[in-house]
């Protein structure tokens, strides 16, 4: 369960990236965050996994108050959340397998289990044949699928995906959405930021529309 109460984020003095935002995402929900470029979608997502701290307001994630969470408790929070970063954030000096495995290594999982699970998720995303490749040698869409694999591999309670299909063609995007629907059906709360309105409408899920740092549609407290 994720709740935002009157959350604002000012990176600079002049304009807020997010302003007085209220949002409630119940456990097991599937929400799309839409809005034009610079609307504050990524900022909203970053606040949930504490990459950024809110300037004002309170954020509750599974009962924890993120605004006041001590730095030492952040890793525990992040291990419950799988994140697909808009810029992928793959480690350039590790291969695909190692990049995905990282999300399990930080949990202290035995190496044998790691191998199996990494292989399964890569297979599911059609990236198992590139397991030993360096991310720098992958095509844009391939990198994006590795980023998705890393977010999903530890079966997180919450999946946060920032523009997860921006580098993927229509068919591949559909397949990703199927995977997301599937993990959602198993109980994972899913929050996807995207510009792809076609995809959003075809999915028929809840939509929160942002503009200039304000929720203009779908706001709930």
């Amino acid at each position: 369960m994720i709740q935002l109460f009157h959350v604002s984020k000012w990176y600079q003095k002049d304009v807020p990236a997010l302003q007085d935002t209220n949002l409630h995402v119940p456990k097991g929900d599937f929400v799309f965050i839409t809005g034009p470029s610079g609307a504050g979608k990524s900022t909203l997502l970053k606040l949930i996994f504490a990459e950024e701290r809110p300037t004002n307001g309170q954020i509750l994630v599974h009962g924890r108050n993120i605004a006041r969470l001590p730095t030492s408790r952040i890793p525990t929070l992040r291990r419950e959340i799988g994140v697909v970063f808009q810029d992928f954030k793959l480690l350039p000096n590790r291969n695909v397998f190692e990049n995905v495995a990282l999300a399990l290594e930080v949990l202290g999982m035995p190496r044998r289990d790691i191998s199996r699970r990494v292989w399964l998720i890569l297979k599911r995303l059609g990236m198992h044949h590139k397991m030993r490749a360096n991310p720098l040698t992958l095509s844009g869409g391939e990198q994006q699928r590795v980023a998705i694999a890393r977010a999903l591999v530890n079966e997180p309670l919450i999946l946060i995906a920032d523009e997860p299909t921006g580098s993927l063609d229509h068919d591949a995007s559909d397949r990703i959405m199927e995977v997301f629907t599937d993990v959602n059906a198993r109980g994972t709360t899913v929050i996807v930021a995207t510009h792809n309105m076609g995809m959003v409408s075809s999915m028929g899920r809840r939509v929160v529309h942002l503009d200039s740092g304000r929720i203009v549609q779908g706001e709930t407290l």
């Binding site: 996994f49 929070l77 930080v106 202290g108």
Partner: protein
């Protein structure tokens, strides 16, 4: 246990993947410690040269004429029993004249008219190595007290005092430069490591974003630092050994004789261990501290 193994594996993988950086860092550690070790070797051996100079320290006790040889033997036995004393030799008037002639070298003919040496017979007392200094001499003199056989005692007080001060000055300079060298090595090594960690800030950030704890992130960095430090100090010791062998083989044995030493020595084994440990501590802690510094924004 499995955590440690996994950290080790990650550290090894990092070293491999950043091989260019790792080898440069190891090289800089090696060269810095080589300088420290080379200086140690130099200082250690020059120290031996100086100790050699001090071996000239001895006490000459001029004897009054007219005592029987048995009394002199008795006094010699007594003195050679002192814990500070290495040896005692009896020098007759004739021997003293011989030595004086030898000292004046070619001018022997100038002394032709001189039949009897002006100075009396004497006992030459050589202290043990540890007592070849003012304190040692003084304690020998205290033991000898005012023996009726001894007319005068001479031990080159002025010369010894001056030598001791020169040695003290050299020691001060040597230790001072050594400290500067060590501090410089610490500065260079720790900052080189900081540079390499700075270059990997992105990696640190990504690890944190996927939920890695500080311990998880830092352990491999610590291990990498330890390995680089160990490799660097091992290379520096190898270079030192090489330098040592070259010096031993190439250096004219005449130079050793001139310097008054038998041969040159390698750095003492304590220093070898200090270099190895120092390299590892610097590498490990430097790495750890640098990661900590870029810990959170």
């Amino acid at each position: 246990m499995s955590r440690l193994i996994s950290s080790l594996l990650r550290a090894a993988a990092n070293l491999r993947q950043n091989w260019a950086t790792s080898s440069i860092t190891t090289g800089i550690i090696a060269i810095s410690l080589f300088l420290v070790g080379g200086y140690l070797m130099l200082a250690h051996n020059l120290g031996n040269v100086v100790i050699g100079w001090k071996s000239d320290v001895r006490v000459t006790a001029y004897l009054r004429d007219g005592f029987p040889i048995s009394d002199i033997n008795h006094l010699m036995d007594e003195i050679s029993g002192y814990p500070e004393v290495e040896s005692v030799i009896y020098i007759t008037r004739d021997q003293a004249l011989e030595e004086f002639r030898a000292m004046l070298d070619k001018e022997n003919n100038l002394l032709e008219g001189l039949e009897e040496y002006p100075l009396p017979a004497s006992l030459r007392v050589t202290p043990r190595r540890d007592y070849q200094n003012m304190d040692g001499i003084n304690s020998i003199l205290a033991r000898m007290g005012d023996d009726p056989l001894v007319e005068e005692v001479n031990y080159g007080q002025e010369w010894l005092g001056r030598l001791e001060k020169v040695i003290k000055a050299f020691h001060f300079i040597a230790v001072g430069f050594g400290i500067i060298l060590c501090l410089a090595a610490v500065f260079i090594i720790s900052n080189t490591i900081k540079l390499t960690v700075l270059a990997r800030r992105d990696e640190l950030e990504i690890m944190r974003l996927v939920g890695a704890t500080e311990a998880f992130i830092r352990t491999p960095f610590l291990i990498e630092g330890l390995i680089q430090g160990f490799a660097g100090s091992a290379v520096s010791l190898a270079m030192l050994t090489l330098l040592y062998r070259v010096l031993i083989a190439r250096m004219d044995s005449a130079i050793y004789k001139i310097l008054g030493i038998g041969t040159i020595n390698f750095i003492p084994s304590g220093s070898v261990i200090a270099i190895l440990l120092g390299g590892m501590v610097l590498g490990g802690l430097g790495s750890l501290a640098s990661v900590g510094r870029f810990s959170r924004k």
